[in-house]
């Protein structure tokens, strides 16, 4: 923007700040627009200001970007002779003048829906849908005639005008119609009653109109009256989707002749047109239409040059590199690999490198790339909370008003606002909500956090977990050094940056996020963007609304009532008879228990009968079910519930998807089907939660408490039947015993010694008991645990068998293998013990292993990396109310060396060290590297008591008598070794003297190695010294070559400082130990 800009500035004669901003808005538009649109845009937005133009400067870069354009439009599209079919990914709406040609009869502002999508040829589509109006219902007061309605209309219009004084809308309430509908709430005998459908001009008016009606409205003849509104909380875009039968991510077709090419393109899409909502054809995702369009996925990552000791801040620290990877959906290899760097960068094979002299150019090039490549989905790791806000804020700081036009709409800037997302399931999370029009953002960090429970969510550990790969981690203090080096060091950084952009794409593929999320959107009918930004309830609501529409039902907006309804009793857990079972344990599972209960007993909003109604209606007992929690529901003979119907459809669809999956051969089709059956399962299970969510959209605790009460009853019933039938008296060899029961499963010990017999009895029991339940409740026999270690409720481990020949795997629940705040030692110890106990059947071996480990710990022979505890630093010390170990340590490290100290957002690893008596726990934390370098003794007692003792005792108590005495206080705990720290105060006064390697006697001469008494053991002692060196050399070699391998280069030093990597500390320690051991070995060279 250099030359062109300055020239224009002088001509524009110092415009006012406000104007200036407008200039920018147009400026950015020009650099990619074709001339055709220019004039009109200018007339529209910039009538009186000078035209500013960037000329030659961005042309070069544009040319390079050109080759990545989308495939050009086919002739049929240009001639408009072909119907347009596309897979939609995003639907939103804007307020604009209504379309004069399509809607000749209406005028003024209207909501216009925009559907963004991709055709199967890969052309981008922006479809403006006209004529769909926002509306909601209220129940019609009895005795209201047509005249009353028009009067009511006038009053409402008046009140609306009062409430929206600033609005210039010619009309607020467009019309009021009488419709025959029925409320979904409670069983009603009459088929329908009158409702008023209130159609308003703009979507925002729904809320304001609802407010007026909620509060009450004075109507002549009827007095002050407040109304309960129906379906007034449905988002406009969702309303549109429901009414047009559009589900998230499906294919939409607009027939030729029904669409009009826009006179003036508002977007950057290749196909932009207007049409009426009634002309849309929505295809259900079957057959040809279950496929995915080749949409473009951009994965990117930025690097910033932070200052020493600070986390990068957009106000000060420049963006130095942006790596971009564009992949076409369904392809294995990326289409584009690109890095944009500030300052020169040596080439990388197979990667397109663009280097720039100024940061502004980097940012502008990135914006141009977005516009040319036109991605449909933008992914990355933590892009929503870091990369995107950083780029936008940085552009603001640099005064690049033209930067944040990243969406598909011309002139429209990306909007950033703070958002909190809270749900029962995921807790409350703060995040930034960034709206990039027409492009879906998919932050892998959020998605993984949502769908998987992991001990750490750093990109490194997530990719280690799913891709089995360690990622090189370059500390941000080194990034600046690399940037300030030469083209080679920047290339190094670029390689690293590219990898960070590549990993999210690999995760996306590996975890099949695209398939699973698109299928989830199709099953539940919500737009894809809702799946990440909203909770479970919107998905159920969407299905409920769709079903209700079919059934001519309306859903009340009963949010307020929810909070007072209180809580209800949860699921039952049969008491666990803790112990170590060495006979096969059969597990009987209820298949989708809660959904099947709702189906079996016809539990729904519309089948619930209130207590008064029960008395009033006097329903015959054979037509109703009274639930164990005391509620009454009618049976399906009188009224079929719509929740059961939804569930039935979901489960049937799942069965079908599973059957299709078996037959499918194409891996892509398989992926779609697998995603679908998973989505169907999740959806079916979330219906119950929806009715129980007290702050949800439509809570109905009568339903949820009935479901759980039935569930409890069933578990108890199963237990009773099993223990009654399978007895010696009943002709079986042993008495069966139920040892534990969870929400939907029961564990039975039939007493038989082999897996095969237990399986036979398990099947028999499942069939027998299933016969006593109402369909579709079904008890299934799935697996055998043998042996089985039951610790307490929700905590158990066992070997899982599904066929009698070979066990499938070791299964552990609720046992410390994944807890985040434990050190690795706990996990290793627990896993190893379980393995020894369950697989090897070697309890003494497990005990010995524990003893050896504890002894190693006390003798200071433990690998330090196993002892590291890691916590994220989210706030500074002053903000925490209680002092915590990791925050205190961060403070201390800052005092030591501000450059390498962890800053906010970093994870702080620490170990607990021996400190003065009475020191607080938080004072005993120390940096593992510092500990290694200075020989600081760790506190084995802390690890023994606070980390490993509890999990160990839990495992061993059912097996061993006196487990605590045996394991934690035996002989093996008597001998300890504590190293002398090399930096403590006392050491300054100490005089160093060599000691005999054999017996530690101080030696007088400095050239001696051993004392005269040990002379005879010379060879033995030497063997030990040299064996130590040999072992360390071996370890060192393995560790460092692994790091070289990760780094992907043989000729460059390893820089990685990833503290999440399990071998980081080991590598450091091996390095130091080897140096020490060699020094000791050198003493022998006399």
């Amino acid at each position: 923007m250099n030359t062109g800009n300055s020239r224009k500035r002088s001509a524009a004669a110092t415009p006012s700040p406000q104007q200036q901003q407008k200039h920018h808005a147009v400026m950015e538009e020009e650099d990619l627009d074709e001339d055709v649109f220019l004039e009109e845009t200018l007339l529209q937005y910039e009538e009186d200001s000078q035209v500013l133009r960037e000329l030659e400067e961005s042309n070069a870069i544009k040319e390079r970007l050109q080759k990545w354009k989308r495939p050009s439009l086919s002739q049929a599209y240009i001639a408009q002779t072909q119907s347009i079919s596309f897979q939609q990914l995003e639907i939103d709406y804007i307020i604009a003048e209504s379309h004069k040609e399509l809607l000749p009869n209406s005028s003024g502002q209207a909501a216009i829906l925009r559907i963004f999508g991709v055709t199967k040829e890969g052309n981008s589509v922006c479809c403006h849908v006209h004529g769909f109006e926002p509306y909601f219902y209220i129940s019609c007061p009895p005795g209201m005639g047509p005249d009353d309605i028009s009067r009511f209309h006038q009053i409402l219009e008046g009140r609306m005008r009062e409430a929206n004084r600033n609005s210039h809308a010619p009309k607020f309430v467009r019309r009021i119609e009488v419709v025959q509908k029925r409320s979904i709430m409670y069983y009603q005998q009459q088929a329908s009653q009158s409702f008023l459908k209130i159609v308003v001009a703009l979507p925002t008016m729904v809320t304001s109109c609802r407010g007026i009606l909620d509060r009450g409205i004075q109507i002549d003849g009827l007095g002050m009256k407040s109304f309960l509104t129906y379906e007034s909380n449905v988002l406009f875009a969702l309303r549109f989707m429901i009414d047009c039968n559009i589900v998230g991510g499906n294919w939409i077709e607009v027939p030729a002749g029904k669409y009009k090419k826009a006179a003036r393109n508002l977007s950057y899409c290749q196909l932009e047109f207007d049409c009426l909502y009634s002309d849309l054809i929505s295809h259900s995702p079957e057959g040809e239409f279950s496929k995915m369009a080749p949409f473009r996925i951009l994965s990117f990552d930025i690097e910033c040059a932070g200052r020493k000791g600070h986390f990068p801040e957009p106000t000060q620290d420049p963006v130095i590199q942006v790596a971009n990877l564009v992949t076409l959906q369904g392809q294995d290899q990326p289409l584009i690999r690109n890095v944009m760097t500030l300052k020169s960068c040596s080439p990388i094979v197979g990667v397109d490198i663009m280097s720039f002299d100024t940061e502004k150019e980097v940012l502008r090039a990135w914006r141009d790339l977005i516009r040319e490549v036109d991605p449909d989905i933008i992914i990355g790791y933590n892009i929503c909370n870091f990369d995107l806000p950083y780029l936008i804020r940085r552009a603001e700081v640099l005064g690049m008003a033209e930067f944040p036009v990243l969406g598909r709409i011309r002139n429209s800037r990306v909007r950033v606002k703070d958002a909190t997302f809270s749900s029962r399931q995921h807790g409350t999370r703060e995040s930034k909500e960034i709206t990039i029009e027409g492009r879906v953002q998919f932050d892998l960090f959020q998605a993984v956090q949502r769908d998987y429970k992991l001990s750490s969510y750093s990109l490194n550990s997530v990719s280690a977990h799913f891709l089995n790969e360690q990622k090189e981690d370059v500390h941000h203090s080194i990034i600046s050094d690399l940037q300030n080096g030469n083209a080679e060091t920047r290339r190094r950084l670029a390689v690293y940056c590219l990898k960070d952009a590549y990993l999210p794409q690999r995760l996306l593929d590996k975890l099949m996020f695209i398939y699973n999320y698109v299928e989830m959107a199709r099953v539940t009918g919500v737009p894809i963007s809702f799946l990440l930004s909203r909770g479970q309830s919107i998905k159920v609501l969407s299905q409920l609304l769709r079903k209700a529409k079919q059934k001519n039902l309306v859903i009340p907006n009963a949010k307020q009532a929810g909070s007072e309804q209180g809580t209800f009793e949860g699921a039952t857990v049969l008491e666990a008879r803790a112990g170590f079972y060495e006979k096969p344990i059969a597990t009987l599972d209820f298949a989708s228990l809660y959904p099947s209960i709702m189906m079996a007993y016809n539990l729904c909003y519309c089948t619930l009968v209130t207590p008064e109604e029960v008395r009033k209606l006097n329903l015959p007992p054979e037509c109703v079910n009274k639930t164990p929690s005391g509620e009454t529901f009618v049976k399906s003979t009188l009224q079929k519930g719509i929740l059961p119907e939804i569930l039935e459809e979901l489960l049937t669809a799942r069965k079908r998807a599973k059957a299709d999956l078996k037959e499918a051969t194409d891996p892509r089709v398989k992926a779609v089907l697998d995603g679908r059956q998973l989505a169907l399962k999740i959806s079916a299970n979330s219906v119950y939660g929806f009715t129980g969510a007290t702050v949800g959209q439509l809570p109905c605790l009568e339903i949820s408490s009935s479901v759980t009460s039935y569930g409890r009853q069933m578990i108890e019933h199963t237990k009773k039947l099993v223990e009654d039938k399978f007895t010696v008296l009943g002709g079986y060899e042993h008495n069966a015993e139920v040892i534990y029961g969870d929400t939907d499963s029961v564990m039975v010990q039939f007493g038989v010694p082999t897996v095969e017999e237990a399986m036979k009895l398990g099947r028999e029991a499942a069939d027998y008991i299933s016969g006593t339940f109402i369909k579709p409740i079904k008890l299934e026999f799935e697996k055998i645990y043998y042996p089985y270690l039951l610790i307490s409720k929700k905590r158990y481990a066992g070997l899982l068998w599904t066929n009698p020949d070979k066990h499938d795997k070791m299964d552990a629940k609720g046992i410390e293998t994944v807890r985040r705040d434990n050190c690795l030692l706990v996990k290793n110890l627990v896993t190893e013990c379980l393995y020894k106990i369950l697989v090897d059947r070697d309890v003494p071996g497990a005990v010995q292993y524990v003893k050896n480990t504890i002894s190693d710990l006390l003798l200071n022979r433990m690998d330090l990396s196993l002892l590291v505890i890691t916590k994220g630093l989210t706030k500074t010390g002053d903000d925490y109310e209680v002092k915590t170990a990791h925050v205190e340590l961060a403070e201390r490290m800052r005092k030591r060396d501000a450059a390498t100290a962890p800053s906010i957002g970093d994870r702080v690893p620490y170990v607990i060290i021996k400190a003065a008596k009475g020191a607080k726990a938080y004072e005993k934390s120390e940096d593992p590297i510092y500990v290694l370098e200075n020989n600081i003794p760790i506190d084995p007692q802390y690890y023994l008591e606070n980390q490993i003792s509890k999990p160990l005792l839990r495992i061993f108590e059912p097996i061993l008598k006196n487990a605590s005495r045996e394991l934690l206080h035996g002989d093996h705990t008597r001998s300890i070794a504590v190293p002398t720290p090399s930096n403590s105060g006392i050491m300054r006064f100490a005089k160093k003297q060599l000691t005999c390697i054999g017996c530690k006697t101080p030696l007088s001469g400095s050239d001696q190695t051993i004392c005269k008494h040990c002379k005879g053991r010379e060879a033995e002692l030497y063997c030990r010294s040299v064996a130590n060196v040999a072992e360390l050399e071996n370890l060192f070699g393995k560790l460092w070559t692994q790091c070289q391998e990760c780094q992907g280069s043989l000729h460059q030093d390893v820089l990685c400082t990833s503290r999440d990597c399990p071998i980081f500390y080991r590598r450091k320690k091996a390095q130091k130990d080897m140096a020490e051991a060699k020094t000791q070995l050198d003493r022998w060279n006399f």
């Binding site: 290339r491 070791m810 060879a1019 030497y1022 063997c1023 040999a1030 070289q1044 390893v1054 020094t1079 050198d1082």
Partner: protein, 372 residues
């Protein structure tokens, strides 16, 4: 009874181990990259000097300078991606597999592929280069061109090849023998002290008739090439040992010393450390300490040597290792027999090409030792 007195033949011995010795060097955080870097520079200079005789018409490029479709020569270090290569990270894998891991003897796999790296970057190789022959660490020159997929299509390969041969001294008439022994494994449960004693007696000429003794008299040098003792591994875990265990640890070494003393008393003896000996792990292994051999080290015929070991006898040069380099090649590449592997090390002009990637190598600056 007077017999013909047999005189053991003599020869002139000169040790060339100086290259492999490490003297008082302190480790200061060096990394392996320096080894590769130095190796690449030395070998590249060599390869560059060969290229004019190989394909003089082709330009020589760096990995970065590759242009699509253009024939050229690149020189760099090979890196072999191996699916089965054991990694220390496996220790941390989430799920312990139910079936115990089978210890493999060979880690090659059909999916292995090669990458060529120089200081400027890496490029994936395709074409006529057989991944099973090469290992990570080979430095070679390749003729080929970059394909549209960003790979380098190899058409021809140039290895460093055999060096200029040392002129062989012409000797007439006199036969002399050098005895190489390895894998004595004194202390292993299966080792039989009688057999060893028999060997010693044979070498020292205490066995057989005159004819046999005649042969024994022609032996001028004995070289023990590694794995002489086997110390019970469990005893060396850093814990203090009881006196019984101390003797168990020391016993095999003492036994070895007794036998070596017998040899050293009559003939020059070189002993090299091997993988099971009480020596350091990384190559070059340093000589076994004299304190281990209080008896034999009293003789000046006894020499404790490095591994690899290099010496000249009557101007004939010997160079050898205790075999770790060849064993490791056997794990990470394929050949018909060990002789092939040994031949390859000569052609590559690198004694231990897999070091330091899969074979331990000392980081201390002694790069030059590996180049023949």
């Amino acid at each position: 009874m007077e017999k013909n007195l047999l005189h053991r033949k003599q020869s002139l011995y000169q040790s060339l181990d100086a290259n492999f010795g490490i003297q008082k060097e302190v480790y200061r955080g060096q990394q392996y990259s320096q080894i590769y870097f130095a190796r690449l520079h030395l070998m590249r200079t060599l390869l560059y000097s060969l290229i004019p005789n190989w394909k003089p018409h082709l330009p020589v490029c760096t990995v970065l300078g590759l242009e699509e479709g253009k024939d050229c020569i690149i020189v760099g270090t090979l890196y072999k991606h191996m699916r089965l290569k054991p990694s220390i990270l496996d220790e941390y894998s989430k799920e312990r597999s139910v079936s115990p891991l089978v210890q493999r003897h060979n880690f090659t796999h059909l999916d292995d592929n090669l990458v060529l790296e120089d200081e400027s970057g890496r490029v994936k190789l395709s074409g006529c280069l057989l991944p099973s022959t090469y290992v990570t660490g080979n430095i070679i020159a390749l003729h080929g061109k970059e394909t549209s997929a960003g790979e380098f299509l190899v058409e021809d390969v140039l290895e460093a090849g055999l060096p200029q041969q040392i002129e062989r001294p012409i000797q007439l008439g006199e036969d002399k023998y050098v005895v190489f022994i390895s894998g004595l494994s004194v202390g292993r449960s299966s080792s039989n002290p009688l057999q060893f004693q028999l060997l010693v007696d044979h070498i020292t000429g205490h066995l057989g008739d005159e004819k046999e003794q005649n042969i024994a008299a022609q032996i001028v040098q004995v070289v023990i090439a590694g794995n002489s003792v086997e110390v019970p591994h469990g005893l060396l875990n850093g814990q203090n040992l009881g006196s019984k265990d101390q003797s168990r640890l020391f016993e095999p070494i003492k036994e070895l010393d007794i036998l070596l003393t017998q040899i050293a008393a009559s003939i020059p003896l070189d002993i090299m450390p091997g993988s099971s000996d009480p020596a350091n792990f990384s190559l070059p292994q340093q000589p076994l300490h004299r304190c281990l051999f209080p008896g034999s080290s009293a003789y000046n015929t006894f020499r404790s040597c490095t591994n690899p070991h290099c010496f000249e006898l009557d101007n004939i040069r010997f160079l050898g290792t205790s075999g770790q380099n060849i064993d490791d090649l056997g794990k990470y590449s394929e050949a018909n027999n060990n002789i092939d592997f040994m031949e390859r090390t000569l052609r590559w002009r690198h004694l231990a090409p897999t070091a330091p990637n899969t074979l331990g190598q000392n980081l201390l600056p002694c790069y030059t030792w590996k180049f023949l």
